[in-house]
Symmetry: C2
Subunit: 305 residues, 2 copies
């Protein structure tokens, strides 16, 4: 799956993933009104609104980006109905040929990690009958609990040709609370990075391993350092745009082959129509604004790299 | 909610939480057969089997333990239908007066953490209409991303009188990979513990804060050290029994007031009927075996404390 993601990035010249992280106030009123009319101001109504919103955005960006990254929390917040909208979004994106990175940040002891791995990347075996729950190609996971909580994910990835992005240095302001603690001569995030690199070398695709790392766009100097420390690791880079990550800094996250990173934008793309810079788009044309934001991001990154 | 949990622990003299972490091979055949007959060997069939299994166990233990801890991964593995069984289990346990600790180990940047907090502890606001998704009293969360990813959970807990257990030192064999790294004079888990203690002091119930810590039963010396380091923090202690934690070591996790910890047993209780030591129970009486396992655990802990 990492090979497939890289092929798509090359073909489209687009190291971009769009975060499908809907909030109610991102969704145009005409979509909300229709959904609420059908299902009320309920979790079901929100779920329907989110799905229609995502679908229209996917229809307008699928030929310009290789991947989308739905953030499951935004859906989980609205209970079962919300999670159904997550699942439908994953399936619809797959139908349109997109690579799907489920941003789920799970992590637990081995037997439990195995359950998450099966549910989000693999298939369960019910006395011989196989079932797939969530059809992500990649998921994000949390390393705090150590290797035996990572291994079940590695095993399922190997079996299913799927991949991971493991949290190394996250984009949020307090990411340093623990990640930046000094462990001997290194920072904790470097210690995690070295482990991710090590696990990755045993799980190689063609040029890159299918064990990626999450490295926030908001700490470009760290990005540069980590790029050297883990040359075979693909970076998923959140925090571009709305969170403060700038195009000119993104070169830090790439290798000399022009590969090695995929930059995420969520709000900047999916809520583009609400920004002053895209006020030429009417609310009904919100998905065209999203498409324009993707094209602009491609240009900005291309200039910067 | 922490006060309520402590009251129940005192009244029942039972510092025990039962982990409702079903696996298909824990469920007695007569329950599976009935569920598969109605719904096939599908996710829906498993979900029905899990719910009936849990319900019978809850009916037989609710008067002897203060709390249950369903592990959401075991349900999420079976997709939407599985998560519905999780939700029904939470609701049923609440109906029977149990405190519910949702073992979800979530964690993400602030706006995303807020969504998880709302979905699992709070209520969403859909243009004025309030909805609750999952009615947990407590949840477990992961600290790797730092304070701004914890704060949204603290805020919702304050508003809703609910609580948290934050991962400090986990029970699994590789928990030391990162948690045991030396940070200056301390281990990383101590650094996390000091932060949890600090956050907790701003969120006090009566004698204990409602910001608890997960501290594994498999490292009793660490338990002892952390007990001193964070006197106002309640410990959720997984790893008793099947994972190797022994009754005689459990005193390390308690304060002199006889409080401060709640010990989790999952497999040892819910699959007790499969153990040699409970072979007097027939498969149909699996829930009676679970009740007996709880009574035995109460006695063992009472002797050890």
């Amino acid at each position: 799956m990492m090979n497939q993601l890289i092929d798509k990035i090359k073909k489209q010249n687009s190291p971009i993933v769009v975060g499908l992280d809907p909030k109610l106030n991102f969704v145009p009123s005409f979509i909300k009104e229709k959904a609420f009319k059908a299902y009320g101001k309920t979790n079901e109504g929100v779920a329907e609104a989110f799905y229609q919103f995502n679908k229209d955005i996917i229809d307008h960006i699928y030929d310009e980006v290789p991947a989308v990254k739905p953030q499951i929390a935004m859906y989980e917040q609205y209970g079962i109905e919300g999670i159904i909208a997550y699942q439908k979004t994953v399936n619809y994106a797959k139908e349109k040929g997109l690579v799907v990175i489920g941003d789920i940040k799970r992590g637990d002891i081995s037997s439990t990690a195995e359950a998450y791995a099966i549910g989000h990347l693999g298939q369960s075996n019910i006395e011989g009958n196989k079932e797939r729950a969530f059809k992500n190609d990649f998921i994000t996971i949390n390393p705090y609990m150590g290797y035996d909580t990572i291994k079940p994910f590695l095993d399922v990835c190997k079996e299913e040709s799927k991949g991971l992005f493991i949290l190394v240095k996250t984009s949020n302001p307090s990411s340093g609370d623990f990640q930046d603690l000094k462990v001997g001569d290194n920072y904790l995030y470097e210690q995690v990075a070295m482990k991710v690199d090590e696990w990755g070398r045993e799980h190689m695709g063609q040029d890159y391993s299918y064990v990626g790392a999450v490295v926030g766009a908001t700490y470009p100097e760290v990005g540069k350092k980590l790029r050297k420390l883990m040359p075979k690791t693909y970076f998923l880079v959140p925090g571009y745009g709305a969170q403060g990550g700038k195009a000119e800094d993104m070169a830090n996250y790439f290798n000399e082959d022009g590969l090695g990173a995929i930059i995420n934008s969520s709000r900047g793309v999916i809520a583009a129509y609400q920004k002053d810079s895209y006020q030429q788009f009417k609310e009904e044309d919100f998905a065209l604004a999203s498409r324009q934001a993707v094209l602009d991001m491609k240009k900005d990154l291309s200039n910067a790299l």
